[in-house]
Symmetry: C2
Subunit: 121 residues, 2 copies
Amino acid sequence: MNAKKPAPQVPDCKEQLIAIKDTMILLSGKWKIQIIGWLLLYGKVRFMDMLRGIEGIAAKMLSKELQELEQNEIVARTVMPTKPTTVEYELTEHGKTLSGVIDAISAWGVTHRKFLFKKES
Amino acid sequence: MNAKKPAPQVPDCKEQLIAIKDTMILLSGKWKIQIIGWLLLYGKVRFMDMLRGIEGIAAKMLSKELQELEQNEIVARTVMPTKPTTVEYELTEHGKTLSGVIDAISAWGVTHRKFLFKKES
DNA sequence: GAAACTGGTTTCCTTTATGAAATCAAGTGG
DNA sequence: CCACTTGATTTCATAAAGGAAACCAGTTTC
């Protein structure tokens, strides 16, 4: 039984890499991380406020991304008994555990900007 | 001059949200974060080892993602003067500053798995 | 020379993702 | 009744992403 592929020159797949993959499946898409960042910053937010506040997002996308986040219990949706029905979204307790990820991403964005600035000077 | 859109009910766009967007533009795509995780874990790695080690990735994608990371000075590429030419990839100093992001993502994957486990029990 | 290995690139094709605009349902104010 | 609000969903269309397989170039080994 000759294997076609040569043996890999590196140790086997690590837990950490699996965990990275798991996380990124839930957070994939152009808007999810931005939405979570929003909710971390603002707490409870209504649909229309996010729609107007997150630059460039379309209603369909916002709706779809929020649904997916809700299914994964990262975001909670509450229908309020107001005159024109409003809906509030907020992070669940589990969703809030993403703050470490979001903060790291945000902080790196700043680091990267400094890096680019140093280059051009 | 009546604005068509009502005023947003939340304060204006924050720096943090811009930084998140900036970061995610560089790390978008199905494989980039996994690749960076790999390089953090293994250091210098050859092209073929990554191709065999990262499950499911095609040569085209690996090549393309590495090029993009190289353009953003996150990954460095070194052609080695060996018999069959080999090429080594590794994180640049700037690329290594992503370790906080990658670690947070990895750690959350573990947190999430625990969360799912608690639910089913 | 044939075959294999390295590190790619190219072609062709399919699947996802995203977006703009229209529509809808329920409710309010005039 | 008409217009407008909120929170969506539906339709239609396009753009982007991703993948399988073939191909290429340089070098080595049989």
